[in-house]
């Protein structure tokens, strides 16, 4: 038996430099990265919804979804919430530091299918990161249908991606609404769950696709709301988060029944998820 030995080591990351660190809030930072290998940096491409395996020295690797837009070539944005050892170490890194990157991996959002529909984006906290990539890609491509963005944060100072939110709010055809769980002095916007914003939106379920991303509690509430509004399961799209090691469909850490999040996901329609025993949907 002979098999050609792959010249490229699947597991070996490429070096990337932190060009900039954007502090989104106390828990989230966005790292602007570029591969040290300029040729690779030039040719590197990805699609919204995909993720990178990020190596932090001595801490191993973790999957982080890409929050930038493929059109902005030259750098990759990874927005990271401080959650464990690796992300904490990453948060301590600064401009000029090195990390390792592998990817892009995973099934992206169905961008072609999205192009002809009204789009409803519902995000909570760090969940806006992958959706930001979709929104900016759609806008750059001149999306000509209605776009609605609903974003929930815990508090006003937890609102991430403020620059994007501001610019979306000023874009014609985009309805961008924010809400917070707990108000703070100076906040005059909405207070309450993100589902509370639905009343302010004109939605045509048959013409729309809903992209939902956020903590499990929020996802469950939003899915219930969408079902009430008559969204078909096939038109509801979300991303799943799982512990991952290889990122390429071998190690099986990210399994959900017979599916692997790294390869069959992380983007799934609700229709697909309902065939699986997914804890997040059951509560």
């Amino acid at each position: 038996m002979t098999m050609p030995n792959s010249p490229k080591d699947l597991y070996r990351p490429r070096r990337a430099e932190i060009r900039e660190v954007i502090v989104e809030n106390s828990q989230i930072k966005t790292f602007v990265l570029a591969f040290v290998d300029r040729a690779h940096n030039g040719s590197f491409t990805y699609q919204p919804g995909q993720f990178m395996m990020v190596s932090v020295p001595h801490c191993g690797e973790a999957p982080i979804s890409i929050s930038s837009t493929p059109a902005d070539s030259g750098t990759i944005h990874l927005s990271v919430r401080r959650a464990g050892i690796l992300t904490a170490a990453l948060h301590d890194m600064k401009q000029g530091d090195m990390v390792g990157l592998r990817g892009p991996y995973g099934r992206p959002f169905p961008m072609t299918a999205l192009a002809g529909s009204d789009l409803l984006f519902v995000a909570g906290g760090i969940g806006l990161a992958p959706l930001r990539s979709v929104i900016n890609t759609c806008l750059a491509a001149g999306h000509d249908r209605r776009i609605t963005i609903l974003y929930g944060s815990r508090t006003p100072s937890d609102i991430a991606f403020q620059g994007d939110l501001a610019s979306w709010g000023q874009t014609a055809g985009v309805n961008c609404l924010l809400t917070v769980d707990r108000s703070e002095p100076g906040w005059e916007g909405e207070v309450g769950l993100v589902t509370g914003l639905f009343a302010q939106c004109a939605l045509e379920p048959d013409e729309s696709k809903a992209l939902v991303c956020g903590p499990p509690m929020m996802i469950r509430a939003v899915l219930a709301q969408l079902a009430d509004r008559g969204f078909a399961d096939g038109n509801i799209i979300t991303t799943m988060e799982r512990h991952m090691k290889c990122g390429v469909g071998i190690c099986r850490h990210c399994h959900m029944d017979d599916k692997l999040v790294c390869k069959d996901g992380p983007v799934f329609t609700l229709e697909e998820l309902k065939r699986l025993k997914v804890m997040e949907l059951r509560g």
Binding site: M1, T2, M3, P4, N5, S6, K8, D9, L10, Y11, R12, P13, R15, E17, V36, S55, P57, H58, C59, G60, E61, A62, A83, G84, I85, L86, T87, D97, M98, G100, E241, R242, H243, K245, C246, V248, G249, I250, C251, R252, H253, H255, M256, D257, D258, L260, K263, V278, M279, E280
Partner: protein, 348 residues
């Protein structure tokens, strides 16, 4: 008979001696303690080749080691951050005495490590390998490869394969490397005749009749797929599991792994891959202690579902090869055979 040969038993050792000149030779040896293991042979003269007992280890760790360094890294903080893959020499290797269960397991691993992505570390070890099979004339007490349908005899996947006919081996090949060996060392091989082939078939019939247990794997797989396994079965299993990971580690087809960094100095370290078991709670636990799988209740379930349901649905065959190694080793007294029996409503 075309493409079937006879090797006299007396000539086995001399043949191995010849083959060892060009190959790293791995075969089941019985050590001084009485355990039989696939072992790399340094010296043919001082070893006890054991073709009568099932080796306690499968070939898994020869291709997919319990722990391996994927690459080393240096100077992570500076711009001379480097990742280096340790180039490992891999002399041509010959695995001798591979039974149908272990052979099937290697074929399964070939798919796992190349289907979704080509794993260079596995494939590097796997290439330049010759597998010399040995059909099982006498299944062991815990064997159930008849139920997993890959034994006791197998007719594909090997380079060379031997069937014990008493004083001689019937030799077949399924790949060109095996044919090449027969051609190069033709002085050891005589053409087989019809009697030999009949004798092989007789051996097969007898082997098939020697299984000490009936395992209704297909029925259990159907019940799993139809979600007809009573919750009480899962509860009993989850209570029994002691979280040792032994069933997965000893299994020739369990290929889950984990990857981690090990710092070896102030400015250097290794990225290590090692075996993992889906039954461990840390297998799915995410940062921040959120765990989408309840190990206590579901740890075992996902392992059995993977083997008997999901792989069955995908490939129409289970990813259990019936080797029986996990039988009777569980600290809580459970194993895949017990699960199948419970699922089928039999009293084990």
């Amino acid at each position: 008979m075309k493409d079937k040969y006879i090797l006299k038993k007396d000539h086995l050792l001399p043949l191995l001696r010849k083959l060892k000149k060009k190959h790293r030779l791995i075969a089941p040896l019985q050590n001084l303690h009485g355990d039989t293991l696939f072992t790399e042979i340094d010296q043919l003269d001082n070893v006890r080749l054991d073709l009568a007992n099932q080796p306690q280890n499968s070939l898994k760790r020869f291709f997919f080691p319990q722990q391996e360094v994927l690459f080393t890294y240096r100077n992570p903080t500076s711009d001379s951050y480097r990742f280096e893959t340790a180039a490992e020499e891999r002399p041509p290797s010959l695995y001798f005495g591979v039974r149908p269960c272990d052979l099937s397991a290697v074929l399964y691993m070939d798919v796992v490590f190349s289907k979704n992505a080509r794993d260079p570390h596995y494939l590097h070890r796997r290439q330049n390998t010759i597998l010399v099979g040995l059909n099982c004339n006498a299944p062991f007490a815990n064997c159930f490869c008849n139920a997993t349908r890959n034994g006791p005899f197998i007719d594909f996947g090997f380079d060379l394969q031997l069937t014990d006919l008493g004083d001689r081996f019937l030799v077949e090949f399924d790949r060109s490397q095996g044919q090449e060996i027969i051609r190069e060392w033709q002085q050891f091989f005589a053409a087989a005749d019809e009697t030999d082939v009949k004798a092989q078939y007789q051996a097969f019939l007898e082997a098939r009749g020697r299984f000490s247990q009936q395992v209704h794997l297909d029925l259990a797989a159907r019940r799993l797929a139809d979600d007809q396994v009573p919750e009480s079965v899962w509860q009993d299993l989850s209570m029994r599991c002691q979280d040792c990971g032994g069933c997965a580690y000893i299994c020739p087809t369990c290929t889950c792994f984990t990857i981690r960094d090990r710092q070896t100095g102030d400015h250097e370290g290794e990225r290590i891959r090692s075996w993992d078991a889906c039954t461990f709670s840390g297998f799915t636990r995410m940062a921040g202690d959120h765990n989408p799988v309840d190990r206590q209740m579901r740890g075992i379930e996902k392992r059995f579902r993977h083997k008997l349901q999901f792989d069955m649905e995908k490939d129409n065959r289970p990813s259990c090869v019936g080797c029986g190694r996990c039988v009777n080793i569980c600290f809580g007294g459970t194993d895949i055979v017990l699960f199948i029996k419970m699922t089928c409503g039999e009293n084990p």
